[in-house]
Amino acid sequence: MFSRRLFLQGGALTGLSSLLPATLLPAWARSASGGNTGLRPDTATEFNLSVGRFPVQIDGRAGEAVGVNGTLPAPLIRFREGDEITLNVTNTLEEDTSIHWHGLLVPFQMDGVPGVTFPGIRPGETFTYKYAVPQSGTYWYHSHSGLQEQQGHYGPIIIDPHHHDPVAYDREYVLVLSDWTFENPYRVFAKLKKVSDAYNYQQRTMGDFLADAKARGLGAAWADREMWGQMRMSPRDIADVTGATYHYLINGHATADNWNGVFQPGERVRLRIINASAMTIFNVRMPGLPMTIVAADGLTVQPLEVDEFQMGVAETYDVIIQPTDDRAFAFVAESIDRSGQAVATFGPHPGMRADAPALRAVPTLTMKDMGMDHGAMDHGAMGHDMEGMDHSGHDMSGMEVDHSGHGMMDDASWPVETKDISPGPGVANVAMMPVSRLNEPGTGLEDVGHRVMRYSQLRSLERNPDLRPPGREIEIHLTSNMERYMWSFDGVRFSEVKEAIVFHEGERLRVTLINNTMMPHPIHLHGMFFDLVNGGGDHCPRKHTVIVKPAEKLSFDVSAEHVGDWALHCHLLYHMHAGMMQVVSVLPSADKAKEKDKRMEDMHGEME
């Protein structure tokens, strides 16, 4: 079952690599036509990374990036589970920088968040990160300073298992998905603050109204507009920054650059997919070829065959594809609002180009996305809503009934700290009836006619390590005012936060996220994996980032093991930058505090 064939980097650069990105890219990010026939299994324990500005060619146009070692994406960092590694990060910029190791269980002072875990890396300075992590899989790294992430400061991490990889494959690739703009990211942010829908060219128009009136009757079309208008919200508010400015990239290649990978028909090919975008949630699919999800956020899951999945910013998925046909397949990463996509090719020969499918119709949100009590409404706008509103996964056989929906609070046998959120300048909407949506595939994928992954289907391959019930539960509300482009947790922007969220070392607790906004938010907790309460019993998927859908309420259970201050934030970059961020302080428990003091003293000794 364990049959990994190792592929060495084949042939020299061919004439096809004349497309500029290839020549500037590290081997793993190149196309097959640029000599990449699969990843090399080389690991190392020491890495030298230099953060700087450098010219790039994106989608055929020249730009300037901020990134690592002069390549976009940044170099692949590959090492072995448990190895003590050293990363020397030198800042050649004229501003501070940082690197955060996304999903890695590092000591918190190595986590790389300026102002939370360390002071950042000053211009001209070299900061040495040192750690060994007890995990394997696909991860990534990126800047946590300013808006550098939007400018190209991101790269992949692969940690090879210490012993044996439960995933068998013949060939592997990393696919780093990202979004690039030639605009200055601060300008992008400023535009959103001034005219929040400045990048949205997919609003409903007069023509849509007429078409709708014709299809559903004037009354229904009018009532629908009336309701959205009354709320001052848009059912097409799906992505803040769109294809109007973004060039969507796979390993630095736009569709026109045609990143291509090769396979031999019949091979099991492992794709390590990383959504390293600043703002883009992607729908990932390979028309005509099923994908078997084998890992989520780095950790292995029970194999799940799907045709498509929605991928939040900062999530990673490993999938196995096994093409048997001797032809080219498209790999499509489509922006959730369908304002653009990046298409790559997998084929039996280097340089093949698969047909790029046309962009699908723009999705339209429903009142359910607003968290309205739709039992009280009978508007035609609701369409598909009713499915999936039950507690997660009733259609799944053999699973325990786990009240992961809103009923949970009533029968929770642990104390629940609820919060009252009231409307105000920073909180435009309070979801009246948030529900579990783990059993839904995500915005726009409800009716695509093929198998789309739902969170409720994910099962950890390994038994969850901590099966204690939570000792308590806290709620965190996701709040916003799109019109003012304000984003926050519990109505409080990060700039106004006066105290961190406290976890106590050793405790097991439940965190319930309630999305009062109309957008899906990929929420990321640094420093720990959490068990998504999705009906999986003792095999819940363990993740570091989870998309909370509009008007959704979901929970995860987490064991506070690693003492330190850990960032918690929406991984949509401009949402974080607007204030959708907090800090979770895992405080040492009294009996462990002494031990910790000693550890810190030792550490100090080493540093001096």
Partner: protein, 270 residues
């Protein structure tokens, strides 16, 4: 009179800046209690503190400057041509802003500015969609008059943009204006914008030729094409009507109390 205005304006700016500073006094740094500090065990606490404050500030309390030319247009009939502007500049964050607004008219035939005012306002978000604005207005033309301003600006249900204010002049006269705009999206770049603006006066003000009650109404329709979001030329029509004593004064002066203008202009922001 100009001096008096300058004093008032300066006082207003001082108040604004003070209130904006208070905007930031909210977070933990200023109170001396650190919201988190475990990294102090590994790094210089003073440096951590400075970086944390800077970092928090830039995650939620960034400030911006916006320039908005809402109307920059030529209005014309068969025998008259007027240049009209309505522009604003603000500086600030999510909740508090300083606004500078200006409106005016330039008569091409006479070659002179007929009306011009500037408002300096302190704008504070008071609800989900509305800001309260208060400050001063100074009319450079026609009569060099200063006013205190109390107004609001925001987005009403059904996407009506509303901007209203009451003005108390240094002569003690109370007037008010309210303006509503709606944007009908014909395509993703082509907008039809109906606009209604009404002016009121609490009593007759002979020296400004204003009657009491509703003094005038402007009803416009502009068709705008957004070449870029920030740059949109438009064409349109606007009906100006005066009422009551106001209308009588205009007609006594040989003018028309009801006039239809064609407009050609540019809307732009940065």
């Amino acid at each position: 009179m100009m001096r008096k205005f300058c004093f008032t304006a300066l006082a207003c700016v001082a108040l604004c800046l003070r209130a904006m500073a208070q905007d930031h006094s909210g977070h933990g740094a200023a109170t001396g209690d650190k919201p988190w500090s475990q990294a102090d065990g590994y790094f210089d606490p003073a440096e951590m503190d400075a970086v944390r404050q800077h970092m928090q500030m830039h995650h939620g309390s960034s400030r911006f400057v916006m320039f908005m030319l809402n109307q920059g247009e030529v209005q014309f009939t068969d025998d008259e041509e007027t240049g009209v502007w309505d522009a604003g500049l603000w500086y600030g964050g999510d909740l508090n802003k300083v606004w500078l607004k200006t409106e005016g008219e330039y008569n091409f035939d006479a070659g002179e500015v007929e009306e011009a005012d500037v408002q300096l306002l302190w704008s504070h978000a008071i609800s989900r969609y509305f800001d309260l604005q208060t400050g001063v207005r100074y009319d450079f033309e026609p009569d060099g008059l200063a006013h205190a301003v109390l107004g609001f600006q925001g987005l009403a249900p059904y996407w009506f943009e509303i901007d209203g204010a009451a003005f108390l002049s240094e002569e003690g006269d109370l007037t008010a204006e309210i303006e509503a705009e709606y944007e009908l999206r014909l395509t993703q770049r082509l907008f039809l914008q109906p606009r209604l603006a009404a002016a009121f006066s609490a009593e007759e003000i002979p020296e400004r030729e204003l009657g009491s009650g509703l003094t005038s109404l402007q009803a416009g329709l502009r068709l705008r094409y957004e070449i870029k979001r920030e740059f949109a030329p438009y064409i349109g029509v606007e009906q100006h009507s005066a009422f009551g004593a106001t209308s009588d004064w205009i007609e006594a002066g040989g003018g028309d109390a009801d006039q239809t203008w064609f407009v050609l202009g540019l809307r732009s922001w940065y």
